[in-house]
Symmetry: C2
Subunit: 332 residues, 2 copies
């Protein structure tokens, strides 16, 4: 009989996330009820949003101590009590950090084929769709625009920058450290990279985008958003995807202070989005993403860590900016 | 020979604006050059934006010490060297704080008639148009929506709330003090008023708008914006008109900190605007505003102070929240 390893969120962090906030147990093997599907997790996705879920209600309920840690995964159907799924199907869903999960069929998305299958959790999954819709729908870039993306070497950011290039934009990536910045310009086709660890970010952005920023894809919030606000062109657009710089610390800081002054005087539009809002358009997006990947216009970086037991450190490291490309943990 | 009284901005304030930042002088009488128009100011508009212009470049150049204080006015043509204007015409323009100004004809807007003529600087001027376009274009309210406006007893706010009612919305005003709040609900038709000086604003807003806010018209930024962000419904819209709470003090605070978290999770749109962006639609807006005022659906409050010499204290008092309705100084 297989075991069902589970990572529980042992306690809600009040400061930085650390290994002791998780507890590994041998949990019960779940059973699929009527209309449910038993799946085995293959790849578990690590996302900054995982940490945000610990702060309170977001677009989903807050996580609670003692529960299996939540997380999206690429999984394989083991047993189905729903006519829409059969053993061997690849699906995505919020399985949580465990080997097996029994989920209502309606909470699972049946996936097509991809080689490697990890792409189904990355460029052909929430990551790719987030980059695609956030940039194109919220950012509304036109050819010739200057597009800036933060966390540019990360899963979403690395795709945002490349899509912006495909659309004829001048593309600037913000990332932490020289190695990531070098990757952006030498491998991913960014026109410029700005190291947010290297000093005066407002000035560095002005040097990289002397005419200002038309579209900023914001993954991080905080001081990087502030620096971009100062460099936005009038009538610029900011796609608000996340505020990763604000999640992993003592008490989220929410106060807007003077920001609206810049929003007004530059007539900016800041638009928050969650990828599920654009679900009806997924097919079109996936067709584009596949054609770009297959024609090598879009390079896919994945940062795959082997071993279920490494989930906590994979997430902690992601929050510290360790990864290049989409980070996931391969379970089997 | 008439004199030309002028208030100079004697120095840029580093903290709160005070009388000593201005200096009254008898300036030279300006002469209209070719293509210019000599006007006499009748009413000078006081706006929180006057103070923002002292902070740096906004949608106009920053003010400098030693210059005539800038400000919009309703003025009368004395002499014209442009075929489009003749003596006696009423115009609006940035005359600055002085009795007479010679301005290029293209910087003046010829005004129609109104009784009283002060309405041309208020409800039929930038104030009314700002309320109209900011609410209807940026806020996109639908009948039944809950609309919140801050500085609700002020010039723009008092019109925003009434237009929202005309459009069938539930309207909540935020104002400072019991007297203003009472005015909102008893005279201006607001459904509820919240006193931002009375304590926990997040909670008070939740009580006034238990299902959340669809549209927030933001005149003030800062903590009031923060409280509204927490109470926004998903997919709510925020019309960013100004950040008056941030202008009059030591050093503007621009950092956004965690705000994008709320923009993302609620999928909000924050849109900054300046009334000139909608100039092409002014005629339609003015037709609506006139019909609402004439049918008494829209009540106009003006706060008119007599005497040129009172300009500094009129602005200082406005920044302290003294006025109800549109504040202006009557010069002649």
């Amino acid at each position: 009989m297989p075991t069902n390893r589970q990572f529980l969120l042992a306690q809600i962090p009040t400061d930085k996330l650390a290994p002791e906030h998780f507890r590994l147990i041998d949990g019960p093997m779940p059973m699929a009820g009527e209309g449910e599907v038993l799946v085995r997790t293959r790849y578990i996705s690590l996302d900054a949003a995982n940490r945000a879920w610990m702060l309170g209600r977001t677009y989903r309920a807050a996580l609670n101590a003692g529960e299996v840690m939540a997380g999206g995964a690429l999984a394989e159907v083991v047993e189905s009590r729903d006519p829409g799924f059969k053993p061997g199907d690849l699906v995505s869903g919020d399985t949580g950090w465990q080997d097996y999960a029994a989920l209502p069929a309606r909470h699972l998305t049946k996936l097509g084929q991809a080689e490697p299958i990890s792409h189904l959790l990355g460029v052909y999954g929430i990551v790719g769709l987030t980059a695609y819709f956030g940039l194109l729908e919220c950012g509304q870039p036109k050819a010739g625009d200057t597009v800036v993306v933060s966390a540019a070497a990360g899963g979403v950011g690395s795709i945002v920058g490349q899509i912006a290039k495909i659309k004829g934009c001048r593309t600037i990536g913000i990332a932490g450290g020289e190695a990531k910045c070098a990757l952006l310009t030498t491998k991913l086709g960014f026109d410029a990279a700005v190291d947010h660890k290297a000093g005066n970010l407002v000035r560095a952005l002005r040097a990289a985008a002397p005419d200002g920023i038309d579209v900023y894809f914001d993954n991080v919030g905080g001081q990087v958003l502030e620096a971009c606000l100062f460099n936005m062109k009038d009538h610029g657009r900011i796609a608000c995807c996340g505020a990763a710089s604000q999640y992993d610390g003592p008490g989220a800081a929410y106060a807007p202070r003077g920001v609206p002054g810049l929003i007004v005087t530059k007539r900016l539009v800041l638009r928050g989005f969650v990828v599920m809002d654009f679900e009806a358009e997924n097919e079109r997006a996936l067709t584009d993403l596949r054609s770009w990947v297959e024609s090598r216009k879009l390079k896919v970086y994945e940062d795959i860590i082997d071993g279920f037991e490494n989930l906590p450190r994979a997430l902690i490291g992601l929050l510290a900016g360790e990864n290049i490309g989409k980070r996931m943990v391969r379970v089997v």
